[in-house]
């Protein structure tokens, strides 16, 4: 039986948790959302959401980890037995679906990083033989777009998937002992690279005007439900809530650690990074009149590179820097996703070696990532997603990301709010925290947050019914694929969660903690 690890310092834990929260979405998706919802008008609901939902749920997940000393499903088991544990596994399996395509996206970032060293991505036009009748000629689409689809439609991107999984396995292999040094390198470098991009962005002609655009509100938008829905969803996703990551990471802390101050630190560090990333992105958008799309992929691979390609000098340098930043941010998040699942399985099956569990979880993820990287072109005209892999990714992302995490968040707040009682967790947080958590925590966890999460879910579901599944008319050609992806995610998550809930005995985890202490 192996001994459970611990963070060597509080700073190591904070860097790991903030590295998990700061991912690809912070760098590009926040800016896309902010632009879509009126920039400054988005900031007010965003800040409200941070303190009404983000910080309390983060404290709840961190508290669960240190209170139980166990991974997410086992922590919930301690409160509500196997039914509660089931929801923990459901969240983790959904998160594993997300891990699979997240690694594929990181593999594409690696492919673009490799391309950024050459000329094809930036200057000469690229032809796309696999697209269109006889292929799209050079110059038919902008170069970053052409380079991306050229890479996507070749088996090279499967090789990149293997490389990214190898990095993940190496970093997760020894738990905190290998994760901590990695995040101590990645997180400071992310801030440094972002600083360089900000300086370059705001010193471009019109760059500061872009920053002004980011913060200047149009208050007429604030009465619209879509803006509030976008802000609350953004906060939930950006803080990596509902993945079970924060509970896993906090379970590696000593019992007497200060969770409340750490939680506030992690939340504000994450959102501050989003804010400064907005500086860099908006200055670039304004300087080169690039219109953003509300999509992480288009912002990452088309919009921002198009802006960098227009730099008067240092195009390759800033291009490589941008993709390196994405790689570090993505890796520090993906390792936390793998670790959350691996730790939960280790806690569930204490007699199985950690290395076996890490390899098993990674193999499952690698198969999924490879499916999302299938280079078969199914849309030669580029009117849709281009390849089979990207189309699958798009569909699974819609269900697992938009619904899976919020469902898990709803379940965990109900379990803590109505079964354990939020006061128990609050008293635990206050026992060792210098920053006292007030009774507002009880009200938010018991009533307000479940109501908000339920609203977000019902609002999205209502849109599906009104507009068709993920925008696909139920009688249309795309509907079977949308329904198929929904069934694969839902039945897969429920089925695997059921099997894992019934497997082994949670008592094994408690024994592992005793060994460690």
């Amino acid at each position: 039986m192996e001994v459970r690890g611990q963070w060597s310092s509080r700073m190591g834990f904070i860097l790991a948790a903030s590295g998990s929260a700061i991912g690809l979405g912070n760098i590009v998706f926040f800016s896309a959302n902010a632009y879509k919802f009126g920039a400054g008008a988005f900031y007010v609901p965003y800040l409200v959401a941070l303190f009404v939902v983000g910080v309390p749920v983060l404290l709840l997940e961190l508290g669960l980890g240190s209170w139980s000393g166990q991974a997410f499903p086992q922590a919930l088991h301690k409160i509500g037995g196997r039914p509660a544990e089931f929801f923990g596994w459901f969240g983790l399996v959904s998160a594993t679906f997300i891990t699979a395509y997240y690694v594929t996206i990181l593999a594409w970032v690696l492919g673009m990083w490799v391309g950024a060293w050459g000329d094809a991505l930036w200057s000469p036009s690229v032809a796309l033989p696999a697209f269109g009748d006889g292929g799209l000629p050079a110059g038919a689409v902008p170069n970053p777009v052409a380079s991306f689809f050229a890479m996507l439609s070749s088996w090279r991107n499967v090789l990149f998937v293997a490389v990214i999984w190898a990095f993940n396995i190496a970093i997760v292999w020894r738990g905190t002992k290998s994760i901590e040094p990695a995040v101590k390198l990645f997180v400071p470098l992310m801030w440094l690279f972002m600083l360089v991009l900000i300086v370059r962005g705001v010193t471009l002609p019109g760059g500061m005007q872009g920053v002004a655009l980011l913060f200047t509100p149009d208050f007429s938008l604030m009465g619209r439900v879509e803006v509030w829905h976008g802000a609350f969803s953004q906060i939930f996703f950006t803080l990596s809530l509902g993945f079970g990551i924060m509970t896993a990471y906090a379970s590696y802390l000593p019992k007497r650690s200060d969770q409340s101050a750490s939680g506030l630190m992690i939340a504000t560090m994450n959102c501050a990074f989003e804010m400064v990333a907005g500086f860099a992105i908006f200055s670039l958008l304004f300087a080169f009149s690039v219109v953003p799309k509300a999509s992480t992929l288009s912002m990452m691979f088309f919009v921002v590179p198009a802006g960098i390609a227009a730099f008067p000098a240092g195009v390759k340098l800033f291009g490589v820097l941008f993709f390196t930043l994405l790689l570090f941010a993505g890796l520090s998040s993906s390792v936390s996703l793998v670790e959350a699942m691996a730790l939960a399985v280790c806690d569930k099956l204490p007699h199985v070696r950690r290395s076996t569990v890490v390899l098993g979880v990674s193999l499952f993820g690698f198969v999924g990532s490879t499916l999302f990287a299938i280079p078969k072109v199914i849309d030669p005209g580029l009117d849709g997603n281009g390849t089979l892999g990207l189309s699958l990714l798009d569909l699974v992302d819609h269900w697992a990301f938009s619904y899976g995490l919020l469902l898990t968040g709803l379940a965990e707040t109900i379990i803590v709010g109505w079964v354990l009682g939020p006061a128990t967790l609050r008293e635990w947080l206050n026992a060792y925290g210098h920053l006292r958590v007030g009774k507002w925590f009880d009200v938010l966890v018991k009533y307000v947050i479940p109501a908000i999460l339920l609203f977000l879910l019902l609002y999205s579901a209502t849109n599906e019914v009104r507009d068709g599944l993920y925008g696909h008319d139920m009688a249309g050609a795309g509907a079977p694929f949308a329904i198929g992806a929904l069934l694969v995610w839902l039945l897969g998550s429920l089925g695997v969660a059921g099997v894992l809930t019934m497997a082994g005995a949670p008592e094994g985890a408690a024994h592992r903690v005793e060994v460690a202490s």
Partner: protein
Amino acid sequence: MTGLLLAVLAAGAAEIEIADVPLVEGEPVAVRVTGAAPGTPLEVTYRPGSELEHEESLPLDRDGAVAWRPAEPGLVTLAADGATRRVSVRFAHVPWSGVAVFLVAATLLFGGWRWRWCG
């Protein structure tokens, strides 16, 4: 990710020319569309792709010219007879409401870091 959908625009014969000066909210600028069919208007889209997107249609004169006065700052798309051009319009004055939102956000987000040292 539906935003990933790409529209490969067919190159039109028309071309939009604009005075080579920074565009500023409320200040008129000369726009000329060469090669456009007679009677074609200049379609101005403010904040394209956002919830604030709205359009303005300006009639071109016989020479295909128009004096455009940008109604608001931000990203704008100009389109006429198949030709498109994206431009950025600057703020005419310091946007004080933006400064206020920035200060509140920066204070809350960067101020939160000090809790790191409480423990």
